[in-house]
């Protein structure tokens, strides 16, 4: 049963019905006993009453043989419930009530007995009067008793049968009313457009629905924040793509319209450069989007730091002519991090170092405590800009002069560092001009032998 309303309705109706039936059964059993007791007492009383009438009255105690038995007027009332016979000890029927059978109701003895007379079961009470030599038998049909109890139960069940549908309707309606807040929420949410992330009004909701609305509002909040972040990044990316595209288009238009070959060739050269820049930007944006989308800490691998750095250098080599010096302790270390983000991190840091290096500059990579440091011999960065270097699309003042790069490389490095469980920070060199990029690992940077153990 999918519907909560149907389920509640069925449960309530079955429970109510069952309760009613149990009550009816209980009453049936109880009423039967009570009726038996009351009617038995009545039989007893009636028999004694007749016996005392006979004892005090002028009824012929010994009627002559052959004389028809005197007919006592029926006790009347409700379908002649009681029948009375008076027998002499010598087995003659002295008198009987109207409607009483001719056959003897009881064979002998006093007290209660049951007997089938004319195909009907009777319950009889007998009283003997030694002085007058008679036995008074008062009986009633057991069928009548059954009928009485059955009437009682019927009287109980008929209204139940009538009331049950009414009750059903009431339950159905009130369950529906109880579920109304849910329907209201559903209608409110159903009527919304995709942009509407405003919280559902939880104030008027019953306390049972509140956890639901709270959860929905919490989800809305999370979705809205994720969407806002995405929109910001998209807007920024769109903005950052527009300027290179505008440059590309302008140069292409010049190439298309210029009549002088010199101007045209130069513009075509610029078009190629612009395409390279735009495609690098797109690659970087994709890398960043992938880092954003990936769940943090995808399966870490343990790898020798030296080989990872060499692989990252292979990827980064193309961008710069500077020489690289690896400190000896680099070869002794092992790093535990997911491979792709780690490569992306190191590669972008090396590329950044190469870009800022003078032609004969040296880029140094060394291990300091639980951190990897990459040092270049470039101009460094103003102290105020150091914390902003990893912001997306932030170009340092030194970079602005060249107009190269989109300000994404270090943002990618920072996002990749996060995936590696490391933090990225920058500071200027003290011994000479240059920048230090520091990747601080927690427990994931260990010496070789420790990793083996």
């Amino acid at each position: 049963m999918r519907s909560l309303r149907v389920r509640l309705f069925a449960t309530l109706i079955v429970a109510t019905g069952a309760l009613w039936f149990i009550a009816a059964a209980w009453i049936y059993v109880g009423a039967r006993q009570e009726v038996e007791h009351v009617l038995d007492t009545r039989l007893q009383e009636a028999a004694r009453m007749v016996a005392s009438l006979v004892a005090s009255g002028d009824m012929p105690a010994r009627p002559k043989a052959g004389e028809p038995a005197t007919s006592i007027p029926g006790l009347g009332g409700y379908e002649r419930q009681l029948s009375c016979q008076i027998w002499s000890f010598d087995d003659r029927l002295v008198a009987r009530s109207s409607g009483a059978p001719d056959e003897k109701l009881s064979d002998g003895g006093t007290g209660f007995s049951e007997r089938v007379v004319n195909g009907e079961p009777w319950r009889v009470y007998a009283v003997e009067d030694e002085a007058k030599g008679i036995r008074v038998l008062v009986g009633d049909r057991l069928g009548l008793r059954e009928k009485l109890v059955a009437d009682l139960i019927k009287g109980l069940l008929w209204p139940a049968a009538l009331i049950l549908p009414l009750l059903g309707f009431l339950i159905w309606a009130s369950v529906g009313q109880g579920l109304r807040p849910l329907r209201l929420i559903a209608r409110e949410l159903g009527g919304r457009d995709a942009e509407d992330m405003s919280p559902v009004d939880a104030g008027a909701m019953p306390s049972e629905i509140k956890p639901l609305t709270t959860a929905i509002n919490g989800l809305f909040d999370k979705v809205e924040r994720a969407r806002r972040h995405e929109r910001e990044v998209t807007a920024f990316a769109a903005h950052e793509l527009r300027t290179p595209l505008a440059g590309l288009k302008t140069q292409a238009q010049i190439a298309a319209t210029a009549k002088e070959p010199g101007v045209r060739d130069r513009a075509l050269g610029q078009v190629l450069t612009a395409v390279d820049r735009a495609s690098r930007l797109v690659t970087q944006l994709l890398a960043l989007a992938r880092l954003d989308a990936e769940a943090p800490a995808s399966t870490p691998e343990t790898a020798p730091l030296g080989s990872v750095i060499e692989e990252a250098l292979e990827l980064a080599r193309a961008t710069g002519p500077a020489r690289v010096t690896l400190a000896p302790d680099v070869q002794r270390m092992c790093v535990q991090a997911p491979r792709q983000p780690l490569l992306l991190l190191l590669r972008n840091l090396f590329e950044n170092a190469f870009e800022h290096s003078p032609p004969d500059g040296v880029v140094t990579c060394r291990v300091a405590g639980c951190a990897i440091e990459i040092l270049d011999e470039g101009p460094g960065a103003p102290e105020a800009e150091l914390p902003r270097l990893t912001q997306r699309f932030f170009r340092g003042s030194t970079k602005m002069a060249t107009g190269e790069g989109a300000g994404l490389g270090l943002a990618i490095a920072s996002a990749a560092a996060e995936q590696c469980g490391a933090t990225l920070s920058f500071e200027n060199r003290q011994d000479r001009t240059g920048l230090i990029a520091r990747i601080t690992f927690g427990q994931s940077l260990v010496a070789h032998n420790a990793a083996a153990a």
């Binding site: 950052e240 300027t243 505008a246 101007v263 820049r277 170009r395 107009g403």
Partner: protein, 220 residues
């Protein structure tokens, strides 16, 4: 037509300089707010193409300060911020026009011409003086309905004079229209161009006012 272009992307800056040059404008290019303000304080431009997001600040601030000083130079905002609200902000800050990136070079040139035209209080796109007509959009000149072939510099000198509508234009003013800062000016360049123009249009087309400069000959 001398245009100041303020843009921080070197590729686009180069494209604007060359492209607007092809459309007949002389471009000076700078890439920061500071340089733009310095240029605007020292030289007179027919129009400014201004990027909004510059490395050392917002182009809008440059625009506002310029308008506060009472400078009426036509300014076109050229920017990647292309939402309607951005356009409204820009225009309300004092810009004369707004163009989103990426744009069409010809459209940009046409918008600059239109701004300059409106700035000079003219409604028709062409310039006319006596029997001479100039069309800045196609960079063509005609004398009595017949087309006259002019070089880019000659066209620039003629349009500078025709825009004055018979008033005198000094030699240095004409030089300013012809050359950006980065270009080297030959000492007698203006005389040479005027000489060529007279050869093509007739001696009386341009009058020399000794010691002051030049003006168009005859009447409108």
């Amino acid at each position: 037509m001398r245009v100041l272009v303020v843009e921080d992307d070197p590729m686009l800056l180069d494209g604007l300089k060359v492209g607007l040059g092809l459309a007949g404008a002389t471009c000076d290019v700078v890439s920061t707010c500071g340089d733009a303000e310095a240029a605007l304080a020292t030289s007179v431009f027919d129009a400014v193409v201004l990027d909004r997001m510059l490395p050392d600040g917002s182009g809008l601030d440059v625009l506002k300060r310029l308008r506060e000083r009472g400078d009426r130079t036509p300014i076109l905002l050229l920017t990647a911020l292309d939402e309607t609200s951005d356009r409204i902000d820009g225009l309300d800050a004092g810009a004369d026009d707004y163009l989103g990136k990426p744009f069409d070079l010809d459209e940009l040139a046409a918008r600059i011409r239109a701004m300059v035209r409106r700035g000079a209080g003219r409604a028709t796109p062409g310039l006319a003086w006596g029997e001479f007509t100039l069309d800045p959009a196609t960079m063509t000149a005609a004398q009595g309905g017949k087309a006259v072939a002019l070089s880019r510099r000659e066209f620039a000198v003629l349009s500078a004079l025709m825009e004055r509508r018979g008033a005198i234009a000094s030699r240095s003013e004409i030089e300013d229209r012809l050359y950006g800062w980065q270009e080297e000016i030959e000492s007698n360049a203006v005389e040479v161009h005027v000489h060529h123009l007279r050869a093509k249009l007739g001696r009386e087309a341009i009058e020399t006012v000794r010691g002051l400069g030049y003006r168009m000959g005859g009447r409108s």
